[in-house]
């Protein structure tokens, strides 16, 4: 396991971003971002729409190469040359829920979830359907095994995406807005699910969200990014951020609209 092989001070750190700059083409979205996520923590990434939360997540899971700086996963730089095999190995221990759900359209929900399990573990075929059923029940989609993604609502796709992300009980889970498009009751259930997975299986989580109740419920720690500042403007537990003196953070937590003329872009 990578955590064992890296016998240094960063070994308890699941993820570390060191002066990471991310962007598309010439456009820099985030500049010189640094933070660490300890193993077993739930860290939420907050920020307004378009502030670069999804971009940050793509950087952390190695889908977007930083223009500057390093991302370490269990102490190892994911873009180090020669680390490709390791990255592939590590990715099988990472679960990712994309903002769109990203289910495979040609497969039923059951097959979508069975896909990584069949490919990357050796569970017997008698148990496989049981795991699939269990995962779907976890996200309250029990009985939907034979449905195709196109036959689901937006929120159901999201939940099914979460079920696939946790199919292999990953060591680390990245979620892009897991409660977006869900009603308050199911949102709360998803929060409970994440916390339960975190508690029982010790899954480290990075959750992108701007759902206030969810932030308060699940976060050990929050990171707030801002589009205009192009970086992190605050970190800390949510109850601290809530009373922040920074008006940008305060407004976010108290749903205060900004005056029109202060809007850039």
């Amino acid at each position: 396991m990578p955590a064992d092989s890296a016998n240094n001070s960063t070994s308890e750190r699941a993820i570390c971003a060191e002066n990471v700059s991310l962007g598309y083409g010439d456009r820099t979205i985030l500049k010189d971002v640094s933070f660490c996520v300890e193993q077993g923590q739930i860290v939420t990434v907050l920020g307004g729409s378009g502030s670069g939360k999804s971009t940050l997540m793509k950087g952390l899971i190695g889908l977007l190469k930083p223009t500057k700086g390093r991302v370490r996963l269990y102490g190892k730089d994911i873009f180090e040359t020669g680390a490709e095999a390791w990255l592939e190995w590590a990715r099988r221990r990472i679960g990712v829920l994309f903002q769109s759900g990203a289910l495979i359209g040609s497969l039923t929900l059951g097959e979508n979830i069975a896909l990584p399990i069949r490919e990357f573990s050796n569970v017997p075929k008698e148990i496989l359907p049981e795991i699939v059923r269990l995962k779907l029940e976890m996200v309250r989609l029990g009985g939907y095994e034979s449905y195709y993604p196109a036959e689901l609502s937006g929120g159901m796709k999201k939940r099914a995406g979460l079920a696939r992300a946790i199919a292999l009980d990953p060591k680390t889970l990245f979620c892009d807005e897991p409660t977006e498009g869900l009603d308050p009751v199911i949102s709360a259930e998803m929060d409970n699910l994440l916390m339960e997975l975190n508690r029982v299986l010790g899954i480290t989580m990075v959750v992108v969200t701007h759902d206030l109740p969810s932030i308060k419920a699940i976060s050990d720690w929050s990171i707030m990014v801002d589009g205009e500042a192009r970086g992190i403007i605050a970190t800390g537990p949510p109850n601290e951020l809530e009373n922040s003196s920074d008006s940008r953070v305060y407004d976010f937590f108290h749903r205060i609209a900004r005056p029109v003329n202060s809007e850039r872009r």
Binding site: P124, G143, D169
Partner: protein
């Protein structure tokens, strides 16, 4: 049974078979445990089982599924099963997973006999043909409207597709037809040389090109390049709900989406066919001047005396029909796309297959009509 076996067996105080797990129940151990436990549960002498989880420090999803599978297996075999000494956190996790199990399942599609399925297939084909006819009707209706108000028509869009389907196809079409001309001339020469009738190679090649080969090959190229592209483009728009958005905004989809494409192919096809004729003749001239002792001039003069206006016009009329069919079936398949990326792929393939079928089908009908008209 190798070292580190995942459980120990014994007898409980009531004489039941006691299975004490010694490892965590996880993805890594599930396979081995399942194999051994399912063998034990299947043995006749084991009428009741006790699972002891006192030494189990961790259960993950595979472990939970394993326990459920064992439970299901025991129920089916009529074996009594009981678990004991579960550590509190694990018990909590298992209970959390058991919260509530809604049962609902989609009805599976009926599977009939061979004959039934063949019948269903025919009905489906008939319905598809009817839909296609309707689709064509709606396009022709808006086409008639556009002819009355040509200023409203989206010409820029049409020219865009004209470029994609027409001028961008010229190189590959030239290459294909040139080589076809070369091959045909060689084949004809072998036969005709025996009778010293070299010069008739020109008649044969030019007639075959103008009446049949140039229109059909051009149409096939259009079906492969453009019909498929139309289907993929419209299909992708459908998947992204773009078509829905356009129609609720009040756009007439046949007019907005289909008509520019149909018109582009209607303009491109006859031009490409003339180009194909030219390329084929160049191939013929090249071979006959190198190996048949025919000068280009005598070849062309022979062509000039043989080919009549009706040969060319008949060929162009054919192409026009093919082009309309290809564009319509390409768009039709695009609109037929259901949700999902694989559906786009399937409809793109279907666009090409239906396009090729329609080309040959229309060609047969037109050839018969021409025969009776004496063209």
């Amino acid at each position: 049974m190798g070292r580190g076996f995942p459980f120990e067996t014994g007898k409980s105080s009531e004489g039941e078979l006691l299975i004490s797990f010694t490892t965590p129940l996880t993805y890594e151990t599930a396979a081995e445990i399942w194999q051994s436990v399912s063998t034990l549960a299947s043995r006749k002498e084991n009428a009741s089982l006790v699972l002891d989880l006192s030494a189990v420090s961790k259960v993950d999803s595979a472990g939970a599924a394993l326990l459920r599978s064992i439970q299901g297996l025991c129920e089916r075999k009529g074996v009594r099963l009981r678990t004991q000494s579960i550590q509190p956190p694990i018990k909590h996790f298992l209970e959390f997973l058991e919260r509530e199990k809604p049962k609902k399942d989609k009805p599976s599609p009926p599977s009939g006999s061979m004959l039934e399925r063949f019948g269903a297939f025919l009905i489906e084909q008939a319905a598809e043909f009817r839909d296609f006819a309707r689709f064509c009707g709606s396009v022709f209706a808006v086409m008639a409207g556009s002819i009355r108000h040509p200023a409203k028509f989206r010409w820029a869009e049409s020219f865009y597709y004209l470029q994609l389907a027409g001028s961008n196809a010229m190189t590959i079409l030239f290459l294909i037809m040139f080589l076809l001309g070369v091959v045909m001339t060689f084949q004809a020469a072998i036969q005709l040389r025996q009778f010293g009738a070299n010069i008739y190679v020109a008649d044969l090649v030019s007639l075959a090109l103008a009446r049949e080969l140039a229109p059909v090959f051009t149409a096939m190229l259009l079906a492969g390049r453009s019909g498929s592209a139309f289907a993929a483009e419209i299909g992708t728009m459908k998947v992204g709900e773009e078509l829905d958005a356009l129609s609720v905004m009040g756009f007439n989809l046949p007019e907005f989406i289909t008509l520019p494409k149909v018109l582009a192919l209607m303009i491109a096809a006859p031009l490409l066919t003339m180009w194909a004729n030219f390329a084929g003749l160049v191939g013929g001239i090249a071979v006959s001047s190198v190996s048949l002792d025919l000068t280009p001039y005598s070849f062309m003069y022979e062509v000039y005396t043989t080919i009549e206006f009706s040969d060319i016009a008949g060929g162009l009329l054919k192409t026009e029909v093919f082009a309309i069919l290809i564009a319509l079936v390409g768009c039709f398949r695009g609109f037929q796309t259901s949700m999902g990326a694989d559906s786009v792929g399937r409809q793109t393939t279907a666009a090409v297959v239906s396009g090729l079928f329609l080309i040959i089908f229309a060609d047969a009908i037109l050839t018969v009509i021409y025969y009776f008209l004496g063209w």
